[in-house]
Amino acid sequence: MDLATIGNMLNTAFVFSTALILASLGGILSERSGIVNIGLEGLMTAGAFAAAVSAYHAQEAGFGSASPWIGLGAGALFGVLFALIHAVATISFRADQVVSGIVINFIAAGSTLYLVKLLFEGAGETSLVNEVFHKIQIPVLSDIPVLGEGLFTAYPTTYLALILVAVIYYTLYKTPFGLRLRAVGEHPSAADTVGIKVLRMRYTAVLLSGVLAGLGGATIALTTTGTFSHNTISGQGFIALAAVIFGKWNPLGALGAALFFGFAQSINNVLQLFDFSSHVPSEFIYMLPYVLTILVLVGAVGRSKAPGALGEPYFQGKR
């Protein structure tokens, strides 16, 4: 395997990873505040849907290369909308958080497809968006061997995701907001007794997770598929959730986990370039990313500790 291949693998890995990074950041914010977010899949679905639809309409209305950005914004917005359902149910009405997340997945899957059918005259898929994101090369840096191809030739959304990792890491660990957010997820009544508005923090976190997961879904529609259909999002939300846990609820950890998943995915394409791959049943190649993930989990990570109050509704006077 030569260096160029490794560069290409990295590049493909980033394409897969971008959405996972964004969504898992969303998962981290929500879960750090104490709200389980198994609805990432649904939030991504909502984001992908809104992105495909609005980018398409923006493109038709002549917004040109601004269209994917409009799509991205719409994706975030739609993600928030669904996250709001989750927030109201779990925070205000103290519904079981897992249940609510599953409901989000259900409603997102059903309603987006329904809307697609309404908006596109019965079609099960949105029309193709031609104005999608394109990879940009960072001058100079993209000439570095391996890394240039692997890292510095990427979609703007990939850079956005990486920047957000840094921003969220900084926010969580360096700012008062982050300190408070983590406190709320670890020990809400401790936060409450020092005057932090627990419910408001949780709302903020869950809505932000809608933004991020929505962005994650949107990147898939705006970089790889160019459309939205019933399985544009099929399992990525769950993989992102795995990345949250795998990454120990830490943005950098989740980044690593997401890149790992992306890398494992790209390996199977690279393997198929080699002649020996025709002797390996293709099913084993498809399995590879998932098997690798389990092996890494078993070998390296071990027990990860969730935020202390994850999954527990909070109300004043709770003991």
Binding site: L179, H187, A190, A191
Partner: protein
């Protein structure tokens, strides 16, 4: 002292919870510069009243005045603004955070967008010095002792500029040394102009430090009087509504065969270091052996090793001559060890299960309760009903979830279960933590009763008073070793306290062992 100003006045406070009036038209007055004790049984409504003052609960009726101004305290934020701080019964600390992070949480000094940790650390250090609290601002809560955690709680209130401090059962979790240090800190605080409400079940502390005491029973104020003119027996009686014997009558011990022999036991602790270092002792039938020691000197590991929850590195544990070191919890339980665990919620009960299922936690599989793999609920119910009656466990029914029982009754349920197993050795770890005098009396009687029946009782407690009162013999544990053995009749808490910190007579001085 001249006529002190009233800093807090609560008038006719009523607070109802479903099915209970937690505060019934309560009047309460706190004067500037005083330590005001609040005394009452479990569930009397003390915490509720103070939670109202701190804005955690809203009363249905009544008014609150702070510094002679009528106020509505609609949340902790408001209370903090009014200069009220509270150290809660269950600490409100975020464990993965550092001391500083916990203290500044909610009112962080800023530098641009970021928290200004440098300034924060400095401020924490300054306050810590000013009030003699001696905390390490950089330590994680997980890594510091309970006493230190409490000081962090105190610092939290001071950092927010509180003048009125509420302590909810602050000594329930402390060692004797820590308690005397805390009392010192409280005196210090008062001398610097603070006013303090102290909730406690320990009459001795009230006598030692409080100026005024208000007694609450079933949500009602029974009396409020200066401490100077009263005595413990009078207080206990007012509180429970009947006479309570604070002294335990205990016949002399009739010693029998050795029931538990621990020989050069070595056990690794959580960090992988040896938590028990060749610990040896012998426990005979018919005696109560008290293990005295500062928390964290191997007591938890000892309990876990004795019950099979922690692997044994070397050494031996024998029960009536049967080696049980490294055996499974079940083998050990069947060999005749029962445990009243330290943490009743963690090890003692399945809170989501009804009482009846909790009553057979270790015996569910025996032929008595199990027929060919099926639970015999008729037998289980009968058994549970009997225990509930015999041990006066106050529960609406045996089908009630354990979670709904008060702490005292949860503890009684556990004791009922463990004693009923008819063990040779009964290990009681912190059996009365957080319980009121009435409940303590009940439990102490039961332990002595077991000993009188010829059982061996191992009492592990951080409360010297309890150890001194119950034990026939006291072994002091320090850094995983038994460093001395004393006769309770011939010692006092001063001497014990020094042994526990392993200070030879020559050393002395304030303890500093916590700050490493």
């Amino acid at each position: 002292m001249d006529k002190a100003r009233t800093v807090v006045e609560m008038r006719n406070i009523t607070k109802r919870f479903p099915g209970i009036v937690a505060n019934d038209s309560v009047n309460f007055k706190l004067s500037q510069g005083e330590i005001h004790a609040l005394l009452g049984e479990n569930g009397a409504g003390k915490s509720t009243l103070m939670n109202i003052l701190f804005g955690l609960y809203q009363p249905e009726e009544g008014e609150i005045f702070v510094n002679e101004q009528e106020v509505v305290i609609d949340g902790p934020n408001k209370a903090i603004k009014l200069g009220i701080g509270m150290v809660h019964q269950h600490f409100k600390l975020v464990h993965p955070f550092t001391v500083t992070e916990n203290i500044i949480l909610g009112s962080e000094p800023k530098l641009g967008f970021a928290v200004n940790y440098k300034q924060a650390h400095k401020e924490v250090e300054r306050l810590s010095k000013q009030y003699g609290l001696n905390v390490d601002p950089y330590a994680k809560i997980d890594e510091i002792s309970v006493g230190m955690q409490q000081r962090v709680e105190i610092l939290k209130t001071l950092y927010r500029g509180a003048d009125i401090l509420i302590f909810d059962e602050p000594t329930a979790v402390l060692t004797p040394q820590e308690i005397s240090e805390l009392l010192e800190i409280m005196r210090n605080l008062v001398s610097q102009g603070k006013s303090i409400v102290l909730i406690t079940h320990k009459l001795k502390e009230i006598m030692a430090i409080a100026d005024t005491v208000t007694i609450v029973r079933r949500g009602k104020v029974i009396d409020s009087l200066p401490v100077a003119g009263t005595n413990p027996n009078q207080l206990a009686e007012k509180m429970v509504g009947r006479e309570v014997s604070l002294k335990l009558d205990k016949k002399n011990a009739v010693l029998g065969e050795p029931a538990l022999e621990v020989d050069r036991l070595v056990v690794k602790g959580r960090q992988g270091l040896n938590a028990l270092n060749e610990t040896s002792f012998v426990l005979k039938r018919g005696e109560i052996l008290g293990i005295a020691g500062v928390e964290g000197n191997g007591q938890s590991e000892l309990i876990e090793a004795l019950t099979g929850l922690r692997p044994v590195s070397s050494g031996s544990i024998k029960i009536s001559n049967m080696e049980i070191a490294g055996a499974t919890p079940r083998t050990i339980s069947e060999a005749g060890i029962s445990l009243i665990p330290e943490d009743r919620h963690k090890h003692g009960l399945v809170l989501d299960f009804p009482v009846r299922e909790n009553m057979v936690l270790e015996t569910y599989y025996t032929p008595q309760f199990n027929k060919r793999g099926f639970m015999d609920f008729d037998a289980i119910d009968k058994h549970a009903e009997r225990l509930v009656k015999e041990f006066d466990v106050r529960t609406p029914s045996i089908m009630t979830e354990a979670r709904a029982l008060s702490g005292g009754n949860q503890q009684k349920a556990i004791i009922a279960r463990e004693v009923d197993k008819n063990p040779d050795v009964l290990i009681a770890a912190q059996p009365t933590r957080g319980l009121d005098v009435g409940a303590i009396e009940f439990i102490h009687k039961r332990l002595v009763e077991q000993r009188n029946m010829g059982k061996a009782v191992l009492l592990i407690s951080y409360e010297l008073e309890e150890i001194l009162q119950l034990s026939d013999r006291i072994a002091v544990i320090y850094e995983g070793r038994i460093v001395g053995e004393v006769n309770p009749a011939e010692t006092n808490d001063q001497e014990l306290g020094l042994m526990m910190t392993n200070y030879k007579q020559s050393q002395g001085g304030p303890s500093s062992e916590q700050t490493d």
